[in-house]
């Protein structure tokens, strides 16, 4: 039930955003993520954007694990 999918915000009017997932667009509410900007990737759950996806953090986590792997080898 807590499944959420990442989607890119392609447009925003007030508290409604148009997001794109795999080429399909849909409307989601930004009531829970008022600071979201066009161009950002956000997590969508039950018709609401609930969090921003931080690509930099994604890279950092992977790099951290890779460092661990390199260190152990």
């Amino acid at each position: 039930m807590c499944l959420a999918v990442p989607a890119k915000i392609v447009d925003r009017i007030d508290m409604m955003a148009t997001v794109e997932v795999s080429g399909v667009t849909r409307q989601v509410s930004l009531m829970l993520l008022p600071g979201a900007k066009v161009g950002e990737y956000v997590l969508i759950h039950a018709g609401f954007a609930i969090q921003t996806v931080d690509e930099e953090e994604a890279k950092r986590t992977l790099e951290l694990f890779e460092e661990m792997a390199a260190h152990e080898e």
Binding site: M1, C2, M31, L32, G47, F48, I50, Q51
Partner: protein
Amino acid sequence: MKSRTREEERRLAAFFRGEIARLATRPVRLMEVCGTHTVAIFKAGIRQLLPPEVELVSGPGCPVCVTPNEYLDTAVAYSRQQGVIITTFGDMLRVPGSSSSLAAEQATGADIRIVYSPLDSLAIAAANPAKKVIFLAVGFETTAPTAAATVLAAEQAGLTNFYVLSAHKLVPPALRALLTAGEVQVDGLLLPGHVSAIIGEEPYRFLAREYGVPAVITGFEPLDILGAVYLLVKRIAAGEAALDNEYRRVVPPAGNPAAVAVLDKVYGEADAAWRGIGVIPASGLAVKAAYRRFDALAALPVTVEETKDHPGCRCGEVLRGVARPADCPLFGAACTPERPVGSCMVSVEGTCAAWYKYGAGRWQV
């Protein structure tokens, strides 16, 4: 985990598996407390990738599964009233109550509509001003803010025929109850990534501090889960209890304060009954007095049948991690996804449903 190449993915997975095998020198039991993790673990065959010393058990992380019969019975009773439209997420439809289910009521004429978002209920309420629209507000901290935001949107739209029937539940108090009961030995916890996206890291600090249990906030890709198991096994081997966040790309330490503010505006903590666990103090959410006119239970009288449990169903023990689905005499025989007896078999996130669909993982049924 966003990966750059298949080769890197394979290399990391091999590293995690090798390290897990090297570090797990004694049997450890790790609990995933999120139904979405349960499905991801089975789907990716994670159990088969782990050494026999590392056992993964499912906890009470499927909101539909932990919703007690009494709630279903109340929803059924409302659905039988004249002029009521029930809106619900799809996975509630087939959950058996004491004597009926929403699907059975729908078949006999009740107006029950599946929605993707709680917001869809508002359009239904606006289009049916003579009817009362009741949204079945089920779910953990990921979903609860969406229901709270919908109440605020209903207020803003001036709707007077929209209500929520709240069965929202909170993850940290359930973890506390499980660890306090000590019925099942848990050496480490995989924490739900999307619940954490809302509440952040702080509400989990007590796990290490008070119970000495390491925990990892975990994403949903196979590598996320393997990485989290590795981090837990590493902590256990070092004798460290700490909270790690493997899912920082989605879970900032503070979570989502705007969503928490919306939640706190509409809902307050309340004692809540969990299937198989009983009442856990301050583990649920009730509509605050200022929004009582949107609270179905406060605004709309209802008579509910006496609650009865299903004889033989061991869903409650499965939810606590003390029984495996295969330990239940009904599993795969009298209880299947096509003809479910208990909620753990109904929901796609239920542990019994996952065992049935994907096989038991490493164990033979």
